[in-house]
Symmetry: C2
Subunit: 271 residues, 2 copies
């Protein structure tokens, strides 16, 4: 990983991640709830944007949330405490060197993490070793290639592609959502099931226009302006026209589409 | 309209349209059912691929299905008769010159038609005049720009774009799905509501791989090979590589995504 682009690590980006989780909660998380007493590993909790929802939806599960960044872990902890949740513990740890015994978790939860890893397949193998037989893994990722809008705009598509290319240069994959099914299957999870979670936004949903089209997606693309121009991926005028075109999709006759993917798999029980 | 590309008018294409309706029935139509005694206009029934489902889901409604092509109307009639349905009447007519009294229908249904019209907005205005106040319009369209897949392939994207460009050259719009909301609003329909209907296909759904990825979508793209090459839009080798790449997405580790859009609006009741 180089440091051209790593998201989640500046304050504007933090606010954006928080906004995103706030508006997408139901769409992404409503169907994830773990039973009383189950032990759940959240791998890559970041600043805890998803942890609050995870903990709230499974009040009687014990959640252990880890992240490679000690600073993010501190933020996540503060956020979870502020929400009055007491069923989460935190630990700084690298997904590829987790200090846990094999098969020590009932369930795994991993959201917006694989997209940043050069070897998501290897991460899934490591995580699987920590899961008890019969346990489940839940993976949620976006896919920036799922973005389209009205009015259509070549410049907007180019601006979106900047993020895809920067993330690729950083060793990640912004198109990973569509790949969750083969990734789970290759990691030998059973009963892999993927459900797309499409965000469709038109002006009959003004809150979603504001929170998703503008404050989540377009803000995320805007956030790579300098990196993209410095990396020579795009000309400033094209990028800026693209951002204007993305905001244009938030007007009364505009439409914006983006799709997240949620995958669930099981670790086979012993025969 | 020129005749570079007009779909629905050769026998292979007819079989494809029929296959398509067979596999997408629930996704697209399950939530459309008209009450007993209501009079429904299906504008642009083509070869009746949707008419059978429409009539079956609303057994006590009276459906009038029209199409500009007398040959298609004959096909549609035969298909509906073969299905044993008796609640449909047929008539050859042009959407822009329909021989019906104003406000003579309770509901309007229009599926995979607006994409072929140079003036979908004008068509909606004409249709609205035939609808009684308080009646509804239901519009279903695809959007070829919603297509993405794994493994990703530039050639496959170029092959898909051939169809988009040919349809544009023929006066249509293969990206119309995302525009249904503004189209209904501009035509002054009330309470416009659009719901995307995403088709997500991975190898856990072998029937959908076969019926949608291969026999519906890829077959449709294959169908424009000669037109696209003749029109100079694409080189034969690129197109053929694109088709191979689309079939590649139907293999065990492949994924294919496409989104239809379904819109419903109401004609305002008199104050």
């Amino acid at each position: 990983m180089n440091d051209v682009y790593v998201h989640g690590y500046d304050s504007r980006e933090r606010a954006r991640l928080h906004d995103q989780a706030g508006t997408l909660v139901d769409l992404l998380h409503a169907d994830t709830s773990y039973p009383e007493g189950s032990v759940v590993l959240e791998a890559g909790c970041g600043i805890g944007a998803q942890t609050v929802t995870l903990a709230r939806n499974s009040p009687y599960a014990r959640i252990l949330s880890v992240d490679i960044s000690a600073e993010s872990v501190a933020d996540a902890k503060a956020r979870v405490n502020a929400a009055g949740l007491t069923n989460v513990q935190f630990q700084q740890a690298d997904i590829f060197a987790l200090p846990f015994a094999p098969e020590s978790f009932d369930h795994l939860f991993i959201c917006f993490v694989l997209e940043h890893l050069a070897r998501p397949d290897a991460a899934l193998h490591v995580l699987k070793s920590l899961l008890r037989p019969g346990g489940t893994i839940t993976v949620i990722e976006g896919d920036h290639g799922s973005t389209y809008f009205h009015p259509d705009s070549e410049e907007a598509s180019k601006a979106v592609r900047c993020l895809v290319e920067l993330q690729r240069a950083a060793g990640g994959n912004a198109l990973i959502g569509r790949q969750l099914y083969p990734l789970l299957v290759e990691a030998s999870f059973d009963a892999a099931h993927v459900a797309p979670r499409m965000v469709y936004v038109d002006s009959s949903k003004p809150e979603l226009v504001e929170s998703f089209t503008k404050k989540t997606f377009t803000a995320m693309i805007e956030g790579v302006r300098e990196s993209a121009i410095e990396a020579g991926i795009v000309q400033a005028e094209v990028f800026d026209a693209g951002i204007r075109a993305l905001y244009r999709t938030a007007e009364a006759d505009g439409v914006f589409c983006y799709t997240f993917f949620k995958a669930v798999g099981e670790k086979a029980r012993r025969a």
